[in-house]
Symmetry: C2
Subunit: 181 residues, 2 copies
Amino acid sequence: MLSRVQVKQIREKAYEYFEKVHIVLTNEEIESIEVADFGLDDIENTGLELLTYVNTDRYCAKEMVLFPHQTCPEHCHPEISGNAGKQETFRCRYGRVFLYVDGEKTPDPYCKAPKGSEQCYSVWREIELHAGKQYTIEPNTLHWFQAGEEGAVVSEFSSHSDDESDIFTDPRIKRIPEIDN
Amino acid sequence: MLSRVQVKQIREKAYEYFEKVHIVLTNEEIESIEVADFGLDDIENTGLELLTYVNTDRYCAKEMVLFPHQTCPEHCHPEISGNAGKQETFRCRYGRVFLYVDGEKTPDPYCKAPKGSEQCYSVWREIELHAGKQYTIEPNTLHWFQAGEEGAVVSEFSSHSDDESDIFTDPRIKRIPEIDN
């Protein structure tokens, strides 16, 4: 579990990435950057730093940071109470992000699954995004992503976001952040 | 009506603003920046430069440029065939944008309506956005906006966008761009 001090340090590090691409945030936003370790206690390898700009019942926009080789683990966004699952578009702003989705396995993919979690990564069609490139993920589609060696800043545009309903391949994962007080 | 040469020049000028804030676009995107003069043939005063990243039936994301004191004229997004009108969030990335919405008139507003079109601007509650600030416009709400003296770059996150259904206060306005071949 992350301590408050660790969360603060990681937020500061994430903000340095936003600064690299001249993304201006208010102080309140900087302090609300979400640090997700997915309950695996291995944030350097499996984790995500994100800021939600807006999340109405119709659309959502977020800005995400991945540190070098950091992975957002495999998951999908299922239908909820008869409503279509989340549809989302990732647009890379800085660095490179390697997105993996269902389909024919890419021979010799750039990324490796985080050590010890290999069995929780099942989709291997690789889509490489560098700054200015984007890709849209349809609802209920398994996907995961990992930053390249420089880390990455990625904008996410989507339908309404409801993290609690995400289904992760790794049964140990809890999406809702925990902080040690 | 804008000539192809004028459109090209305006696109290049708009791209300079995107570069100021390190927004990376592909060459194809640069060439598809929409130059909207709203059929008024006065783009320096009434106009908007915009790039649509994605527009699915659920959400939309655009990046907009306004040159110094350029105005996007008053309009609203009505209900379409029983579906709620467009809801949209403007987030300022560079410069200042002055947004005007329905409500108590702001005494001594920063902006003036474009000359000759004063009667087509009816809402005067001013919301000033500088880099890092955002505001959400509810459906079917009259609004217009104008950049400050440095121009502005503004991200728009929204529900599905259908420009053809916008209702402008100025009856002379045609939203669909015309280019002189």
